[in-house]
């Protein structure tokens, strides 16, 4: 029976991994240690799902309530920039996956190269995000700080089929932009944290930390990075795409 299986294998541990410098004292062997930390990382990602889950829930509710405002709000976003950023993030996920692969193969220089590429792409994403935020500021679409719904009561030449919103609905675009900033802001915060950790990883990889048989840190960071990517994979259609047609 499955439940008869046991988590530690003392005999095996003594035979194989007794002297590994990476084995922390409370684990029986490196395999247990690796599985444990990967599982821990997954649980952390579980909390992240729920963290963003609250925002997605709010989005769902308000989109149903204020559909025209959400349509008009999303028309203020640039699909070009959004698609570009999506591609950038997917590239960075790829480079990260390749970085993990390089670590698995114990290739030091490729690992550093892939990690640097990931940092670069992460920064590009954040740069584009900054451009988008700046544009929102100039258009007075930052809720609370600098917001005016006046633009939404007029005809938008870019979307001739859109009717201008009535003033009451136009005010509700603030809800859209609140969620836009909360969601992309939280996502960007995760990106910033990710890039900062990447920088540390690069320095340690330079010193040869992850290419001598212990690469769990890189792998777990990879999980985090891919998770942040997945969040964006959902944010992109929800915020930019699905409201193109009324």
């Amino acid at each position: 029976m499955d439940s008869q299986a046991i988590a530690t294998h003392p005999d095996q541990a003594h035979a194989e991994h007794e002297h590994s410098p990476y084995l922390r004292h409370h684990f029986a062997n490196l395999e247990q240690q690796k599985e444990t930390s990967t599982f821990g990382m997954w649980l952390f990602l579980l909390t992240e799902i729920m963290f963003f889950g609250g925002l997605f829930c709010a989005y769902l509710i308000y989109r149903n309530w204020y559909y025209p405002a959400f349509v008009a709000g999303s028309h203020q976003l640039s699909i070009g920039l959004g698609a570009f950023n999506t591609a950038v993030l997917i590239c960075s996920s790829f480079t990260m996956a390749m970085g993990v692969h390089a670590a698995e193969m114990r290739w030091r220089k490729p690992l550093i190269g892939w990690l640097l590429a990931t940092i670069f792409l992460g920064c590009v994403f954040l740069g584009v995000k900054a451009i988008e935020y700046n544009e929102k500021w100039e258009k007075h679409h930052v809720p609370g700080l600098n917001f005016s719904a006046a633009g939404f009561t007029k005809q938008d030449p870019k979307y001739p089929e859109d009717r201008p919103l009535a003033p009451d609905m136009a005010e509700k675009t603030q809800v859209y932009f609140s969620l836009y900033f909360a969601m992309t802001g939280m996502h960007a915060l995760h990106m910033v944290i990710g890039v900062s950790i990447l920088v540390i990883l690069v320095f340690r990889a330079w010193a040869g930390a992850y290419t001598q048989g212990h690469m769990t840190t890189v792998e777990n960071f990879g999980l985090y990075w891919h998770f942040v990517d997945i969040v964006w994979i959902f944010l992109f259609p929800l915020l930019y795409l699905i409201s193109r047609h009324q």
């Binding site: 499955d2 439940s3 299986a5 046991i6 988590a7 395999e31 247990q32 690796k34 599985e35 990967t38 599982f39 997954w42 649980l43 990602l45 579980l46 799902i49 729920m50 889950g53 609250g54 997605f56 829930c57 769902l60 509710i61 149903n64 699909i79 698609a83 999506t86 591609a87 997917i90 590239c91 996920s93 790829f94 990260m96 996956a97 390749m98 692969h101 698995e104 193969m105 990879g222 999980l223 891919h226 998770f227 990517d229 997945i230 994979i233 959902f234 992109f236 259609p237 929800l238 930019y240 795409l241 699905i242 193109r244 047609h245």
Partner: protein
């Protein structure tokens, strides 16, 4: 729910094939298909499909997420415990949304 918990109890022991190394070819393939899907979803958004715009966009997003989770995040090669963890996360998220929606949807049904 009870099946979930029972499974969780019985099948969560580590399986010992986590040393599976995914080849760069697979990564490349997934990478290419992710980019294609991105292009597809952007293209689809320019076509007026009425209610299906949302469904198509979200279906593509889910497909992309599944690809990333299975291959980039190695879940395809991971233990059942990892798979179950991922499932538990989405399940709870689903509970949050559906149970909250019971309120929002039915508020309009009656005057109270």
């Amino acid at each position: 729910m009870s099946q979930l918990t029972e499974k969780e109890i019985l099948d969560t022991e580590p399986t010992h094939h986590s040393e599976h190394i995914v080849s760069p070819k697979v990564y490349g393939l997934i990478f290419a298909s992710l980019l294609c899907l991105t292009a597809l979803t952007v293209a689809a958004s320019y076509v007026d499909l009425y209610a299906f715009n949302v469904i198509v966009a979200l279906a593509i997003a889910c497909l992309k997420a599944v690809l990333v989770i299975l291959f980039f995040m190695h879940v395809k090669y991971s233990s059942r415990l990892t798979k179950l963890t991922v499932a538990a996360g989405f399940f709870t998220f689903f509970v949050l949304i559906t149970m909250a929606m019971t309120d929002y949807i039915s508020r309009a049904w009656g005057m109270w």
